[in-house]
């Protein structure tokens, strides 16, 4: 009996896709830190629902970061890491607490929009290089960020 199989199609290593994935890792890490900060420092009449909602969001981001970084490894490349590297790559401004509770929500919306921009570009690049697994992962992340944006924006409605 043969101990080898025909070589499966290896994932295409497209540096643009890998750079895109690493950007999404950095964005997500920065957003997770901002969401955690909002979770700690938010104050006001809506403290409890916002505190809980922010916790759900940073927990989701924590799992997503691992999944996206592991996709980079699956493409035979290395994931970026380290707080200063993430901050430099993601380019997200930190909050200056204390802020009104609505400002935390608005600032997180702006940060989510940055992730959506970068994940959309990575999704499209993955499509161009026929990397459907990465494309699928980005679509999944985009769906979650779009849902988070809908919820955050709904909170700001009068």
């Amino acid at each position: 009996m043969s101990t080898t199989t025909s070589k499966p199609a290896a994932a295409k290593k497209d540096t643009r896709v890998i750079d895109g994935l690493n950007l999404v890792v950095a964005d997500s890490y920065a957003l997770m830190a901002l969401t955690h900060l909002a979770h700690w420092n938010v104050e006001g009449p809506d403290f409890f629902p916002l505190h809980k909602a922010f916790q759900e969001q940073y927990e989701n981001l924590f799992e997503a970061i691992d999944e996206v970084a592991e996709r980079v490894r699956a493409l035979d490349a290395y994931a970026i890491g380290g707080l200063s590297t993430f901050a430099k790559v993601a380019q997200m401004e930190e909050f200056k607490s204390p802020m009104p509770q609505k400002d935390y929500v608005a600032a997180l919306i702006v940060a989510h929009e940055k992730v959506v921009d970068d994940a959309t570009r990575t999704r499209d690049l993955a499509g161009e290089s026929s990397d459907l697994q990465t494309q699928d992962l980005m679509i999944k992340r985009l769906q979650w960020h779009q849902k988070a944006l809908w919820m955050l924006k709904s909170y700001l409605k009068p």
Partner: protein
């Protein structure tokens, strides 16, 4: 980050040296496109603010208009006014002179208050924190120098006047 697709008014790259002025103008254009959320008077004021931002030479007038609009509209358009506020915080500075002979002290402008005089007072207090004696103090607002980056051609029609402006 590609500044042509920057939508983040709080992004660290949103600095005066390489800012897209259209960030703020796009927010105003979006507000103007809303069918129900903006009254006729508010639309007039938004157009005035848009004109001031395009001119970029009357920070005091820009600030007064923004504060007026903020009081009228912020609760209905919180996110839009957050974006405008952050854009202005990144592009306005206050020059504080504690007395006519003193060295001017340039300070950031923060929008923790809703009226220009209250914002001016906060700027003055930040300079007073340095232990100086105040004699005939002056606080002047000004825009930081703005270099508009090459515009993206696929953007909305409303952004085109700025492209023409930067090309000139």
């Amino acid at each position: 980050m590609d500044p042509a697709i920057c939508s983040a008014s709080i992004a660290a790259e949103c600095a005066s040296s390489h800012c897209r002025q259209r960030c703020a103008l796009e927010v105003i254009d979006e507000l103007l496109r809303e069918e129900d959320g903006v009254s006729g008077e508010e639309a007039d004021l938004l157009l005035d603010l848009r004109w001031h931002l395009r001119q970029g030479n009357d920070a005091e007038g820009t600030l007064r208009l923004f504060c007026d609009l903020r009081i009228r509209m912020e609760q209905r358009h919180y996110l839009a006014f957050f974006r405008l506020r952050r854009w202005l915080e990144n592009h306005l500075v206050a020059t504080v002179q504690l007395c006519p002979a003193a060295e001017p002290h340039v300070t950031a402008v923060k929008f923790d208050r809703y009226c220009v005089e209250a914002i001016r007072r906060v700027c003055l207090c930040s300079a007073l924190g340095r232990g100086s004696v105040m004699i005939a103090p002056r606080v002047r607002f000004s825009f930081q120098d703005i270099t508009i980056v090459a515009p993206e051609t696929t953007r909305c029609e409303a952004a085109k006047p700025v492209e023409a402006c930067s090309a000139a």
